[in-house]
Amino acid sequence: MKQGLIRVILPTHLRRLALVAGEVQIAVDGQITQRSVLDALEAQYPNLCGTIRDHGTKKRRPFVRFFACNQDLSLEPPDAPLPEAVKTGAEPYMVVGAIAGG
C-alpha cells in the first residue's frame, strides 16, 4: 500500500551532497519505519548511501542521530513504526549530526 509522502530534514552537509535545498519528501511503500524511510531516502538519493548508515550493516553511523516529534529515536529499533504525525506528514523525520553545540 502506498502511503503519503514523508518529510525528511537533512543536515546541511547531506543536503549539499543530495543537491537539495530544503526538506525532502520521500514516498515510502508499506510500513513507515526508520528503516523503510532511510531505504527510500537512499533509493531516491543514492549519493547518501553510506553517509547515514553503514554500507554493509545498515547500522546508524555513530555521530548521526534521528529525531521526530520532539523525541530522540536514535536508539529505537529500526523496524518500529514511526509516530503518526510523521506518517501523515504533519511532522518531519530529522537526520541530525550529533553534538548540539560548539
Binding site: L17, A18, A43, P46, N47, T51, I52, G56, R61, F63
Partner: protein, 395 residues
Amino acid sequence: MTGVRVLVGTRKGAFVLTSDGKRKKWNVSGPHFAGWEIYHLKGSPVDPNRLYASQSSGWFGQIIQRSQDGGKTWEQPGTAPGEPTATPEGMPKGESNKFVYDTSRKTGKPLTTHMWYDGTQHPWEFKRVWHLEPSLTDPDICYAGVEDAGLFRTSDGGKSWNELAGLRGHGTGPKWQPGAGGLCLHTILLDPKNAKRIYVAISAAGAFRTDDAGDTWKPINRGLHSAYIPDPHAETGHCVHHIAMHPSRPDVLFMQKHWDVMRSDDAGDTWREISGTLPSDFGFAIDVHAHEPETLYVVPIKSDSEHYPPEGKLRVYRSRSGGQDWEPLTKGLPQQDCYVNVLRDAMAVDTLDKCGVYFGTTGGQVYASADAGDNWTPIVRDLPAVQSVEVQTLS
C-alpha cells in the same frame, strides 16, 4: 601557454590555485566541499582535467568526488539521483563512497585484527581515504590508500572500488599498529617503468612492494631502525611517514620516517640513513626536484611530541647530493615564532624550468618557490589547516 594548478586539501574543504608559467599571480578557487575534511586530491597524469578528491567527515563518512574540468565542477561518480541503487536482480550497484574490504574466497583475504595502541588486538575498520593515486596510463583507473590500512582500486572512474586484499592479508597485519593519525596507508608510488610494481607505505607498519600488480606484497624495511618498537629492526612496525621517487629512477626511493631520513637504491630492498646535517630528522614531507634526481627537499620538525619547526624557524632543507649534506632554505619563510606543521602529503613540485616547489602548513599557508627553493612566497596564507598539496604542470 604553460601554467600550474595547485590542488590543496584542507581540514575544511578543497582549494584550487592556478597561475601562468611565471608563477607570480595566483587565482584561488574554493572552498570546494566546504566544511568537509579533504585529505587528498590529485589529477590524472593522462588527462589533467580529471581530478579525484577524498572528502570525509567523522559524521557522514567517506565520499569520493571527481572533476572532469580541472576542478571547476565536481560530481560523485556513483549512481545518479533517482536511479535505483540495485540492479533488477537485487545486486547493489557500486557506489563511489563504498569501500568494503574484500573477504571473498576468490579474491579476498579474511578480515583480521591489528594491534591497538595498548598492544591488544583491535578490529580492522574502514575509516577514510588518505591518498588517491591516479594511474599513469588510464584516467579511469585510480588507487586509494585507506585507514584502517588497505589499498583499493577503481577501474571505472571512481564509481566502484575494489580492494587489492593481498596487502592487508600479507600475514603481518596483526602486528601493524596505528600511528598518531591512525593505521593509514598514506603513500602510493606507481613505477613508471614497470606497470606491475607499486610501492606503498603504512603508519605504522612500514613500506611494502608488489611486483605483480597488487596480488602479493613484501615488506621492504630492511635497514630501518625504530627505537619505539620492541625489536627496532623488525620486518614490520615502522612508522614510515612518506616516500618520494624521481620518475626517471624508480628504483631509488627517499623516505621520511618518523625519525630518520632514509634512502634506498634497490627498490626498497635495503635502506641507509641520509639524515646527515639536518637539525632534526623528524618530519613528514619529502620530495624530489623534477629535473635533478639527486636533489631532495624535507621540512624538519622538532620532534614527535612537538610538531613544529625547530627554534620556531620554518626551514625547508635541500640536499643536492642525494642526502647527508643539507642546506637550509629560508628566504621568504618565517624565521621566528613559527609553530606550524607540514604534513606528509603537503609538498609537491612542478616540472617547469626552474622547478617549482610547493608546500602547505597547518597554519593555512601554501608557500611556493619558482626557483627550486632559493626564494619562497606565500601564494595563499589563511586557509584552514592544509593536509595535502599536489601540483599539475599544464601545457
